[in-house]
Symmetry: C3
Subunit: 216 residues, 3 copies
């Protein structure tokens, strides 16, 4: 298999597991089949659509590559009929999700460079590609986004590390394809380790737990 | 009246009732006049704006046709001053809402074809046009989107049926205008029947009501 | 200093305080450092990104001007390490926030005119620029948007007043730069007065507090 075939297969696997995480949340919340399809599509495609709208790549890739729509729809159908089985595979789903995280933060960063953005902006869009769909899933399902919560194992930070590595390599004139593969693998390992060891991101010290709001 | 005049009148009527549904929710939730205007505009225009951003039709139609802004603003003003009367007309609002649903899923699908998208993508954008505003309304008002809930009478599924019919006709080379009118009428009748008979969409069997979240 | 230097400094100050309001909310809600950065960026940049996507100015200014990203990131870092101090400066933050409100509703309206939009549309986008980030912050943090709530001191209405003044001057052929400065100052004073006197926007009379939802 050529490198681009491998990347395509990994991308579709990533979309499949992202969509599965959305569909499973819809099942857990008792949503109907429409909710399952909506959350599956939003989780898998939301981050890439946000990135493409921002860089001006319209229509977004999700609307030009048929497989980008078909694969998440397939994940929704499978989860609808076999969510009990899918649920038992949660750890497997999370492993593939980590692979998707690694892949999408790298490809998102590279696509932003392709459209002429600067390195900090490309990093931000790489992270958005990887984590944006999950945030849209949580907002639509009325969950506090897992991304921002202190009890969540590191998720955005591995993606940020991968995006930064790719951006540094790009700016330094290093061979980007090789670095990109390494960065995606590193994000994958970083995320899996963070999950297994329950690493969490720091929050501000001396937290005032009042939950109050003093500014509008 | 010409066909295009009829379509324009129906579109504006659809925008009016979509905006009314947003304004009424704002009134029920005790929001102020700003909230009434925001929810009215978002409900009426949100779906079409999402579609236009995705297909690259900027500025979106909502920002180029003055009547697309004026009509929802009018609905917000009327609801603000006469929401008691509007509330008594809820069934009438729902009938017009069904007409808007039928119309916008058809026109949304056709506009996506005009911008060169494929049939599955056009169907998805047709549905988005029809139901996207309601989802944005619910998210902004901190309601779980009616669209995804199992107790909601069928809403997205009639829209999907209409969009599919238009896409099949388009791909098969059938006379699209005639089919489009029929599809919009069918969606209207389908949605009204679903409301009157309280048809709901299936959810996944053996629902685990724990509401837990096992994947992030 | 030239006028454009003054405007740039005020804009960056506005972005800084908008980002601070997002970061503080994340601290109050116990979010981790990722949540603090996400809410800071979303609050500061969300309104302008929405405006730029709608007028077709991609990539949005937030992704072309490095300082537009660096300043909110700086605000997130400062709030993370010194939120206790920042909290004690809440009134100062609110004063700068009012300055940002005045500035962004004016610059947003002018940018929409630059891209050929009509006066009503330009007003709407001016308001969106000024208040959109705060709405996205509240939605992501699972707060009912302060913007739509009746107990919130006037916020959108001063912004609307400023946008309307700029649009009228633009349409009437008046000297726009002079009017724009005056309009921003007026919004600033209007918002500060509304805060100090707790002016609120009207809601619909005879509010039915059932919170029920009769339309979908």
């Amino acid at each position: 298999m050529s490198a681009s075939t491998v990347i395509t297969i990994l991308e579709l696997a990533g979309l499949y597991v992202f969509a599965t995480s959305g569909a499973l949340m819809a099942v857990y919340k008792g949503f109907d089949v429409v909710g399952i399809v909506v959350l599956a599509l939003l989780t898998a495609l939301g981050g890439g659509i946000l990135r493409d709208l921002i860089i001006g790549a319209t229509p977004p890739a999700a609307f030009t590559e048929l497989s980008y729509l078909v694969v998440p729809l397939l994940a929704a159908v499978v989860t609808f009929f076999a969510h009990g089985l899918v649920h038992r595979l949660t750890f497997t789903v999370l492993v593939f999700d980590a692979a998707g995280l690694g892949l999408f933060c790298v490809t998102g960063t590279l696509k932003a460079f392709d459209f002429g953005l600067g390195p900090l902006q490309a990093v931000l869009l790489g992270i958005t590609t990887a984590v944006g769909g999950g945030v849209l899933r949580d907002i639509t399902a009325r969950e506090t986004p897992a991304l921002v919560q202190v009890e969540t194992d590191l998720y955005a930070i591995p993606a940020a590390a991968g995006a930064v590595i790719v951006a540094v390599a790009h700016e330094a004139g290093l061979p980007v394809p090789a670095v990109a593969v390494g960065a995606a693998a590193l994000v994958f390992a970083f995320r899996l380790t963070a999950m297994l060891r329950h690493w969490t991101a720091p929050r501000a010290r001396h937290h005032d737990a009042s939950g109050g709001r003093d500014v509008s």
